[in-house]
């Protein structure tokens, strides 16, 4: 898979996360503090989608959300424990970026991912302050085989 295609795949994952977080916000079921957090996370993921779309030489408007992930997140993020599910999403996305770095051939693409990955890792630790792995892992990545 070319770097552009890989970036567009991950952009589609980010778009799915944006959409489901916004549905959750529209429901109005979160506390004020949770609403503030999820609003920021949704905005960040939208900006990450824009950046990855650019790596894939596409505008944000051309990015379609990954429907497989969106359907999955409808069952978790919109379920009984949304903040727990959101933490899991942030960990999975971080792992996805770690996995991408082993596949991307160009340093420009790697640089874009390297500016995103730490932010999503910090999302995870902001939600769960004890989420401090000694090293980031790619083990729980959203992979092409399952979400492609």
């Amino acid at each position: 898979m070319a770097d552009t295609d890989r970036a567009l795949f991950v952009a589609g994952l980010e778009a799915a996360v944006v959409d489901v977080y916004r549905v959750l916000l529209q429901r109005g079921s979160l506390t004020a503090e949770q609403t503030d957090i999820v609003t920021v996370l949704a905005q960040h993921h939208d900006e990450h989608c824009v950046a990855l779309a650019a790596v894939g030489l596409q505008p944000r408007s051309a990015i379609e959300r990954n429907d497989t992930l969106y359907a999955e997140l409808n069952q978790t993020v919109l379920g009984d424990d949304p903040m727990g599910a959101i933490h899991a999403v942030e960990e999975h996305l971080t792992a996805t970026h770690v996995a991408s770095l082993a596949l991307l051939e160009t340093t420009d693409a790697a640089a874009a991912v390297a500016s995103i990955l730490p932010v999503e890792a910090r999302h995870a630790v902001a939600l769960v302050p004890t989420a401090l792995p000694p090293l980031e892992s790619d083990q729980d990545a959203y992979d092409e085989a399952s979400y492609g």
Partner: protein
């Protein structure tokens, strides 16, 4: 010109400049032979060696994360056993150390020559960004949308 090209190209440019200049100005010539320099290995080796030393400096500045940072040093270059003297002097707090190390990993992800090495440095960089958030505030605050490469370790900190 990307950062890697700059790093690789600057040594050759300085070498050519020095060969054509007979004056006694020793300024830039001090770095001529240091990338890849005798015994210094490849530019990747220089970055990984420096990164390992920076991780050991971060371990000293942030005892709560010392074990994690020692594992970072071991991953990046297991032959490094000493912390980085300039980082030891410059980094005043745990948050200083974590932010600088995270930014350095990000900066060098655009410089290292292979995807495997770029992934390796960001396995460290992502974990360090988490440690920065914890060192900075309780509870950890949300970041901006993109991490920046400032304040990455400057080029004259490279252990060539």
């Amino acid at each position: 010109m990307n950062r890697r090209t700059f790093l690789l190209g600057s040594g050759a440019a300085l070498l050519l400049a020095a060969c054509g200049d007979d004056d006694d100005d020793a300024g830039p010539s001090t770095t001529i032979t240091t990338i890849p320099g005798p015994g210094a290995g490849s530019p990747d080796d220089v970055l990984l060696r420096t990164g390992a030393a920076l991780a050991l400096s971060a371990a000293a500045k942030n005892p709560a994360a010392a074990a994690a940072h020692r594992s970072h040093a071991e991953l990046l270059d297991p032959t490094v056993t000493e912390s980085h003297p300039q980082a030891d002097a410059a980094w005043a707090t745990a948050a200083d150390a974590e932010l600088a190390l995270a930014a350095t990993c990000q900066a060098w992800a655009a410089v290292l020559s292979t995807p495997e090495l770029r992934q390796t440095i960001m396995r460290v960089g992502g974990a360090t960004a988490r440690l920065y958030a914890v060192a900075l505030s309780t509870p950890p605050s949300l970041p901006e949308a993109f991490q920046l490469t400032d304040p990455a370790a400057p080029d004259d900190w490279l252990l060539r």
